[in-house]
Amino acid sequence: MKGSRFVFVVALVLGAALLPLDAQQGPPRGPRAPRARKVVLAWADTRNGIAQHDFTSHALSVIERLGYETGLYDTFIRTDSNIIAKEPKRTTGEPASGGPSLAMADAIFFLGHRDVPIDEAQKKELLAYVRDEGKGFVAAHTGLTAFESWPEFGELLGGRYDGHPWHQPGTVINEGADFPATKHFPSTFSISDEFYQPKAFSPNARVLLRLDVSKMPPHADLRNKDFPLAWAMNYGKGRVFYSSFAHDNATWDNRDVALMYLEAIKWALRLTEGDASPRPARTAQ
């Protein structure tokens, strides 16, 4: 009971702290008005990865509730990839009968894992969706491992997965005190997670959070003292955000982590502004 009460409290406080009062009343009953809210595809195709990281569904559910309760966006959760197209197909190859697609979504929240099965035409559409159409792409944790065999995806995301040297508490340096998704974090803070190490890190990305590796125990797989944990980037006309948080399912109830993703999605949807231009690392105080 203690656990469920705790989660209840967190859920309520998220609601109470983040939302204007009128947004808590939920949508009106009756015939549906034309869609006023933005649309987010929460896309978590894990069929070629660890099919079910324990956090994945809880993360998808949290992202859906953040949009629903704030009234800012509607979410379509999909763990297949048929919707990654302007004109999605059924499993038979025939045209799908409406529903979500790249043609109607304003941003993607991505939690895929490893080599997500989409074809060449879908890959082109996905890049164009962000780069040319200026749509948003927000990815979390395992998203960094996706599409190892597709170089352009690394350019879109701003980095590649290079292992996770630590799964333990660490100190995080906040370099994004002025950025909407990270301004609520203190200038340094402690969090326990499986910290993903990026490689092929894009010179176009602005680091928002990084792990203070000087405070971590030595590890043979550590490649670089600059260890970004969250970044923002412009990719063509589109806005991209990635964070390594969070491997542990309960960490998605952490108010600061949930708020980071809500604000990242708002930024990717162009509901807020934030400067994603790269800059030198801030030294820890």
Binding site: L12, G15, Q25, R32, G49, S61, F147, E148
Partner: protein, 274 residues
């Protein structure tokens, strides 16, 4: 709404200390639910994502079960799920992907002709009939697998149009002792896309609630049931397993209603013998 604000105010002092922690231990759960909503071959109702998210939340907050949400059907197998060599895992390592054997119940919100091969179909039936697991289905779940008679036998009913569109109708609760429906009043009005079921027999299912036929237009063109028996929620057994179905759940906001949440939550618990 008022209750929610009152709660938020009442606990806000407590919450500040709770939220001071930036890390929580990973949570584990005694039961596992597969929220399976393969919608690729039909229309994705607006409510489906909110429904599976709500089912996840109910398990998470109660601590009774965790939920894996899937809109693909890879998990519908009792065989090991293996990855092709070179599918992005450099080490070639095979991770343990969870198949039906991991789950205690399925919450089903799939639509129309879902792409399952013959072995997957056999495994799904075995999951319920021989393994004694739970199968809880909602609304458009009754539109699934029309070409597969055994699925209809397991579910206990098939979609036969929604003759009244989205409309208000009166629901009569027949069983006010079942844990699934005892929290409901004897009758109540609800706005939904009310379904008419076919291939449905009271010999096979235990009806918990039905539509009051006097509250709907029996002369609507698509009304087919001469017996005016429009089941809204029922339980049944299928071999060793327990099956629940309810027509209710088309409007997205209906999933925010405490009584509806409790109905599906209690149905899942019942199906998992909790």
């Amino acid at each position: 709404m008022a209750l929610r604000i009152a709660c938020a105010i009442a606990i806000s002092a407590l919450s500040l200390t709770v939220l001071g922690a930036n890390s929580q231990a990973p949570r584990t759960f005694p039961k596992h639910v597969l929220a399976w909503a393969d919608v690729r071959n039909g229309y994705q109702h607006e409510s489906i994502t909110h429904a599976v998210s709500t089912i996840e939340k109910l398990g998470w907050e109660s601590g009774q079960y965790d939920t894996i949400i899937r809109t693909d059907s890879q998990s519908i197998t009792k065989s090991p799920i293996l990855f092709r060599q070179g599918t992005g895992i450099a080490s070639g390592e095979q991770f343990l992907a969870r198949n039906l054997d991991y789950f205690d119940a399925i919450f089903f919100f799939g639509v129309r002709e879902i792409d399952l091969d013959a072995q997957q179909r056999a495994d799904l039936l075995r999951f319920v009939r021989e393994d004694g697991k739970g199968f809880v289905a909602t609304h458009a779940g009754a539109t699934a697998f029309f070409s597969w008679p055994e699925f209809g036998e397991m579910l206990g009913g098939r979609f036969d149009e929604h003759p009244w569109g989205i409309s208000e109708a009166k629901v009569i609760v027949e069983d006010r002792t079942s844990p699934i429906s005892r929290h409901l009043p004897a009758s109540f009005a609800v706005t939904d896309e009310h379904y008419q079921l076919k291939d449905f027999s009271r010999k096979d299912v235990h009806v918990l609630a039905r539509l009051d036929p006097s509250s709907v237009d029996l002369k609507a063109p698509l009304v087919h049931r001469a017996d005016r028996d429009f089941a809204v929620a029922y339980t049944k057994s299928y071999g060793k397993g327990r099956v629940f179905y309810s027509t209710l759940g088309h409007p997205r906001e209906l999933w925010d209603e405490r009584w509806l949440q409790q109905m599906y939550f209690e149905a899942l618990k019942w199906s998992m013998r909790q």
